[in-house]
């Protein structure tokens, strides 16, 4: 094709475009063919504008069998504009609602948009009135989410853990705790360090429509600071404990006590404990009670993690045994015969803030179990401990 042919084609095309343009281009184009939305189903396909969400949902572990309408246009939950033979103007929403996770998960079954009933997992504790027991570790997170309006109600809390959404958490706590344990086993807080903020990033795709399998929700994703304080296998500076962790694996020191079961030993992660989260829960924050009657914080139904103290297990006020995945079931290392040894520190300690309960155990063992003294324990992510001014 030579230049002349190109010129000819350009001239003809230009002329045709000029002639046709006014009738094909209009600001009103395609605006007067209003879709009929009177069929019982949703006549406006959500995915025509939200294909990215649809693609994300297809990668989700859960909710893939649901339709957009089951969550966002479910007439059995809220009144949106719909037509099932009778016309309904919307009330809470027109096209779609912002669904609340607990709309479904505070129940054991729900009715889908098409009227069929399915079973759904009940959110333990959080699905109860008032979000259930106060011993759920994350109850405060759920409650406080109500104060913010990015998500519906408490959805921010649900989505933070259960989806691939990114989360950045700035934990602010005292840099250290300065406390004394006196000869009567009273714990007295002397002073607190200045605010120290540690930022943790939970990575992810940033999608709220990719729900993670429950076994892929990792405690350490949001609590990397705590894991950093725990994950120390090197000996303590004092040599009194075989590690410098913020969770004492075991301790026999110079005392006569039999060596304790290594329920808190992180070296069992990957064997007795399937992963870090299993370690966090099974060894501390949601241990399985093998027998007996534990205190309420170990007995009440909670949502995954428990808000508790070392002394919830290590107490002689209750008689029970805990499943130790590293070696069967056992008494949580506070034998009844020990009452004369440490008196009532398991009771007295509850006059001190919960934040330092673990520090009393850790610092005491790191110092070689003195009968009294001054301790300074640095907060997570640090694992530093001082006893009477010396690092231990």
């Amino acid at each position: 094709m030579n230049a002349r042919h190109i010129f000819l084609l350009t001239a003809l095309t230009g002329a045709l475009l000029y002639a046709m343009y006014p009738s094909t281009y209009s600001v009103l184009q395609n605006t007067h063919n209003i879709g009929n939305v009177s069929s019982p189903a949703n006549d406006i396909p959500c995915t025509s504008c939200h294909s990215k969400i649809a693609a994300e949902l297809s990668s989700s572990a859960y909710h893939t069998s649901l339709s957009c309408e089951d969550c966002h246009r479910n007439p059995y939950m809220q009144t949106i504009a719909y037509d099932d033979g009778t016309m309904f103007a919307g009330e809470e929403a027109h096209a779609a609602v912002k669904p609340r996770c607990l709309d479904c998960h505070s129940n054991t079954s729900i009715t889908l948009a098409n009227g069929s009933v399915i079973a759904v997992p009940f959110a333990n504790a959080f699905g109860d009135v008032g979000y259930g027991s106060d011993y759920s570790a994350h109850k405060k997170f759920v409650q406080d989410s109500l104060n913010f309006n990015i998500g519906v109600r408490e959805n921010e809390a649900c989505l933070s853990c259960h989806t691939d959404f990114k989360v950045q958490v700035r934990f602010t706590r005292p840099l250290y705790y300065d406390f004394t344990v006196d000869t009567s086993w009273n714990v007295v807080v002397n002073s607190l360090g200045a605010d120290n903020t540690t930022t943790v990033f939970k990575e992810g795709s940033g999608s709220k429509h990719i729900w993670k399998p429950l076994n892929q929700i990792k405690c350490e994703d949001c609590h990397a600071d705590v894991w950093n304080a725990i994950n120390h296998s090197e000996p303590s500076p004092s040599g009194e404990t075989p590690n410098s962790s913020h969770a004492i694996w075991y301790w026999d020191g110079t005392r006569q006590n039999p060596r304790q079961a290594p329920i808190h030993n992180i070296s069992y992660i990957g064997t007795a404990y399937s992963n870090i989260s299993d370690y966090c829960l099974s060894s501390c924050h949601n241990p399985t009670i093998s027998s007996g009657t534990p205190p309420p914080e170990l007995n009440e139904t909670v949502h995954v993690g428990r808000r508790l103290s070392c002394y919830s297990c290590h107490t002689n006020s209750y008689t029970f045994t805990v499943l130790d995945k590293t070696g069967g079931s056992g008494d949580p290392a506070w034998p009844n015969s020990d009452t004369g040894d440490m008196d009532n520190i398991d009771v007295n300690v509850f006059n001190a803030p919960l934040a330092i309960h673990a520090d009393t155990c850790i610092s005491c063992k790191r110092a070689g179990a003195p009968n009294s003294g001054n301790f300074i324990t640095y907060s997570e992510p640090s694992n530093t401990v001082y006893y009477n001014g010396n690092p231990v």
Partner: protein, 242 residues
Amino acid sequence: MAIEKGLLAFIITAAIGIIVLPSTVSLFSGQHDWYYLDNPTSDVPCQKCHADIYAELNLSSLHIKWGDSAKADTADCEACHRGNSSVTYTNASAGQPGLEAHAATRAECSYCHFNTSNMWNAVHGNLSKTLGYDASGCRCHNPHGSDAYGIAGGFGLSNLATDTGLNSTHFELLTGTAFESNVYPDESEACIFCHADVGVKFNFTTYTEYSLSVRNSVTTTSSEWSVTDISATNFTTYTEVK
């Protein structure tokens, strides 16, 4: 070579003809044949200039019920574009010159669909000829027998008592188009995006991260964690084309 030159001449002539011929013809045809608007039964046919819109409307099952309910016609145009009761349109047969508008106004979806009193009772310019008159103004038909039909509830913007709109996902789309765009009146763009076959390109900018501030409030006797802030962060932009 001679054939090519002939072809060239033909194409150039055709191209010029395409551009020039229609206006040349119209210069001499029809422009002195005025519509007789004093007759209440006659009107300016909107589709004369808006044939494309007429064709679209004819494909729609909605908004064609005025006039001949089986097809689009001028009555349907008037229902929306000469139906604003606050506007006085030109009406020659009534001797009424237009005040706020001459032939037509831009239609706001919300004019009817946020207002139960107007739904199917919209006043057609008070002086609509095609639709006729009655004592209270020209009223729309009520073909569905229900004033509630067609009310766009769920945004908290209609006059339905139960329309709270407290949990609507698309509310921001309405407010955005109402205040940030003037392609169509008020929030009509948002309505059309979903309810019409118009192409839409969305550039979504959305957050992908919660930024949480949490604090352990510790005293000498107690401690408690609390969430002091949750913000949306880590924004990203992506495009959807309807």
